[in-house]
């Protein structure tokens, strides 16, 4: 037992207690209300905050989307100016990708990963809080550009040299650069944190091949973030120095090659695409088996195809550049690599169908959204195959066909998956179910609205309508389908708002009914998070669950009787942990993460507007860093009479 050592003994008489870090603060103790949310390091609260923040940004991105569709409803529309349109479509893409889809993935990951692996919290709770706050402040900073000289207008891909100061003199692209750099810091720290959590904090007995598929897919996602974000960081640093300090990285007159930006951007950008969809794949891989009452078909194939998708995601970036002039040899290589990414993706879809095969399906809202993901994503996947063929891509790229493609993947895929997950885990997070009846109306509104909005865009693209056009002419044959698409987008908008409507109605009904207990396991599900009470107790698990197999919780409920027939031997409610974890020691809240996160956007404003702002920002940053380093990870005096943790967290 060499690997299991006794805890290191403290030298006699020493105390690691730091009462007032830097002599200024005592750490927040048992705070309530707003202070609780600002200083919390609880992964569940942070997950909920990620979700809420993403919903807030979704409203911004959604309004931008509707403005785009209004402008394009009729030919030669004067509703928006070219300048406004360019800002709006750029910010729509940027906000939706970086501030909606990615954080929703982070919300699910934060809330669920520790629960699914049977841990009390993530590996570094304070870094987790920091990741959220820096994402949130970065996102807010990006959106303040609307009021400080105009949003970015270079497209979310922001190709050089159009992103240079000569072609976009407003500070919009500086905000884009620095805002996303800041958001990227959060993604990076988050990924380190979550990977460590999954690898190193699994419950006793839970080997990697007993980890739920959602956790696996999120793990792959976090690896993609870990390796992709720094590349975007470099690209944005190069661009920022060009724009702010007159460097020459994308200055063609000095011999620079604009394709450098494209390579760096897409080395990041393609893994980015996969890291948006993989968490949704994970979600439906939890939802479908639960409501089909069958284990996921081919668990190892699901896991390895996810890993394969992640790995191949780093080898196909140049398919975004098939017409950029990278030479036929590169085009051929990347075509072949891209085509074969269809294989692991196809495996996933077929395995989901095989899980449905012979199942006993309960078609409630989460299940409907999960099945919708399988079908809608398939459409996006097929159109993806059609432009993986480089020759064909020369006709399709930068047309509305691509717009249709990636909306089928990101909206019909990722977003539908997220909605499925929201309905599925809502009772676990809040203690009541969302209304299923409204949920079904919500489902059909979204499916119809979604297909009406983006289905016609396939046709528009194949008929030759390019993307990123603030207007089109009457005689080009685009009128009908644009009108249909705009009509659909409003149905879709209503559908999206029904998330809020349903949450409000369900909450009111629940409260009116004196808050009935939904029970730990309302769906008869399979993984560990359902073996504890709803809403999740603050300490998650009373005791560490010991896991012996995949879907361990389900196998404790269903066992073979003497005839060899599978029977329910317990309900989930019977065997769930009661939620009275006495003596459980939890990481204490802290001021420093939010303070450190707050200092960094100030630095960003300093870079854009006035370098003197950097001075207070750096002072604040150093204070926060040292305060953090000197503060023990756990507060020793909070509601706890157990023997204490004695280790200082230094990072």
């Amino acid at each position: 037992m060499a690997i299991i050592e006794e805890p290191l003994a403290l030298p006699e008489g020493t105390s690691t207690k730091v009462e007032r870090p830097l002599g200024a603060y005592t750490r927040p103790r048992n705070p309530a209300g707003l202070v609780n949310w600002l200083t919390t390091v609880d992964h569940k609260k942070i997950g909920i905050m990620y979700g809420t923040a993403a919903l807030f940004f979704l409203v911004i991105g959604g309004v931008a989307a509707l403005l785009i569709r209004i402008q394009l409803a009729v030919p030669d529309s004067q509703f928006l100016s070219a300048d406004a349109y360019n800002q709006i479509f750029t910010m729509h893409g940027t906000v939706m990708i970086f501030l909606v889809v990615m954080p929703v993935g982070a919300a699910f990951a934060n809330y669920l990963l520790p629960l699914q692996v049977g841990a009390r919290d993530v590996a570094f709770p304070r870094i987790n809080a920091f990741s959220f706050w820096i994402f949130f402040f970065g996102g807010l900073m990006l959106n303040t550009s609307w009021f400080l000289g105009g949003g970015a207008d270079g497209g979310w891909f922001n190709y050089a040299p159009n992103n240079g100061i000569a072609y976009s003199p407003t500070p919009g692209i500086d905000f884009w650069n620095i805002g996303l750099l800041i958001v990227g810091i959060g993604s990076l720290t988050g990924s380190v944190n979550l990977i460590t959590t999954v690898l190193n904090m699994r419950a006793p007995g839970m080997s990697m091949m007993k980890v739920p598929v959602f956790t696996w897919m999120t793990l792959v996602t976090q690896f993609l973030l870990l390796l992709a974000i720094p590349v975007l960081t470099v690209a944005q640093v190069l661009l920022s120095t060009d724009r702010l300090f007159g460097a020459n990285f994308f200055n063609v007159e000095q011999g620079a090659d604009p394709l450098l930006w494209q390579h760096l951007f897409w080395i990041f950008g393609h893994p980015e695409v996969y890291l948006m969809i993989l968490p949704a794949f994970g979600i439906v891989s939890e939802v479908i088996p639960t409501f089909a009452r069958k284990p996921i078909f081919g668990y190892p194939f699901m896991v390895f195809s996810g890993i394969a998708i992640g790995f191949m995601g780093f080898g196909v970036w140049a398919h975004h550049m098939f017409v950029a002039g990278i030479g036929p040899l590169s085009v051929t290589a990347f075509t072949l690599a891209t085509m074969f990414i269809a294989v692991p993706t196809g495996v996933k879809i077929l395995n989901w169908l095989a899980t449905l095969w012979g199942g006993r399906l309960t078609l409630n809202t989460p299940m409907l959204f999960a099945i919708a993901l399988v079908t809608q994503f398939t459409i996006g996947g097929l159109s993806g195959v059609s432009h993986s063929l480089a020759a064909h891509d020369t006709q399709q790229t930068d047309t509305y066909y691509i717009v249709a493609h990636f909306h089928y993947v990101l909206f019909g895929g990722a977003f539908f998956g997220f909605v499925a997950g929201m309905y599925f885990w809502w009772p676990k997070a809040f203690g009541y179910k969302l209304n299923d009846k409204i949920g079904k109306v919500h489902f059909w509104t979204m499916v119809v609205g979604f297909n009406l909005t983006f289905g016609p865009q396939h046709i528009l693209g194949l008929q030759g309508m390019p993307r990123r056009m603030h207007t089109y002419a009457d005689a080009q044959g685009f009128n009908l389908w644009n009108a249909v698409s705009t009509f659909g987008s409003f149905i879709l908008g209503i559908g999206t708002l029904m998330v809020l409507f349903n949450a409000a109605v369900s909450y009111r009904n629940w409260r009116a009914a004196a808050r009935p207990d939904v029970g730990p396991d309302p769906w008869d599900s399979r993984s560990l998070e359902w073996s504890i009470q709803s809403p999740t107790p603050e300490h998650n698990f009373d005791v560490d669950p010991v896991v012996t197999q995949l879907d361990d919780f389900w196998h404790r409920k269903y066992q073979k009787d003497e005839n060899g027939t599978l029977r329910q031997v317990h309900t989930g409610d019977e065997i769930a942990q009661p939620g009275n974890g006495e003596g459980v020691h939890l990481p204490a809240p802290s001021y420093w993460p939010i303070m450190l996160a707050f200092s960094i956007p100030i630095l960003g404003y300093g870079l854009i507007f006035n370098l003197w702002l950097i001075v207070p920002a750096v002072i604040l940053m150093l204070v926060a860093l040292y305060g953090w380093a000197l503060e023990p990870a756990d507060d020793l005096d909070i509601d706890d009479h157990h023997d204490h943790d004695h280790e200082l967290e230094t990072v």
């Binding site: 006793p204 390796l227 394709l259």
Partner: protein, 120 residues
């Protein structure tokens, strides 16, 4: 520790229950550290000397890159304890995390160089 022993019997080999600080494997001796440093010193000297020979093309950069790689491996293996981590349980994970990223980085950027005809 009876519970632990019991547990290990029926769970997979790569999962262990324990506390932090279980990764203190064998660390090198002070003498070994000094030897590695001497090797690094000699290699750096060789590199500089080689660059003064006035060679061109492969004869210049190939030996330089080889020496660079050896220095890299020495620092990572000895000073960063990767070589010694391999001898503790699951310690290979550190090498995987770092080496895997390194391989992704190298492959990706070498392909970029190809795309820019840097080797032509």
């Amino acid at each position: 520790m009876a519970a632990d022993t019991q547990l290990h019997a029926d769970t997979s080999t790569d999962t262990h229950v324990g506390h932090g600080h279980d990764d203190h494997g064998v660390h090198p001796t002070e003498r070994q550290y000094w030897l590695v440093f001497v090797a690094l010193f000699v290699l750096t000297g060789l590199e500089v000397a080689w660059s003064y020979l006035g060679l061109e093309g492969v004869a210049l950069w190939l030996p330089l890159l080889v020496m660079m790689t050896v220095k890299f491996l020495l620092v990572a293996g000895a000073f960063m304890h990767l070589y010694f981590d391999l001898k503790i349980l699951n310690g290979r994970l550190f090498a995987w995390a770092f080496g895997g990223s390194l391989v992704v980085a190298m492959s990706v950027y070498v392909v970029v160089f190809f795309a820019f005809d840097m080797f032509a």
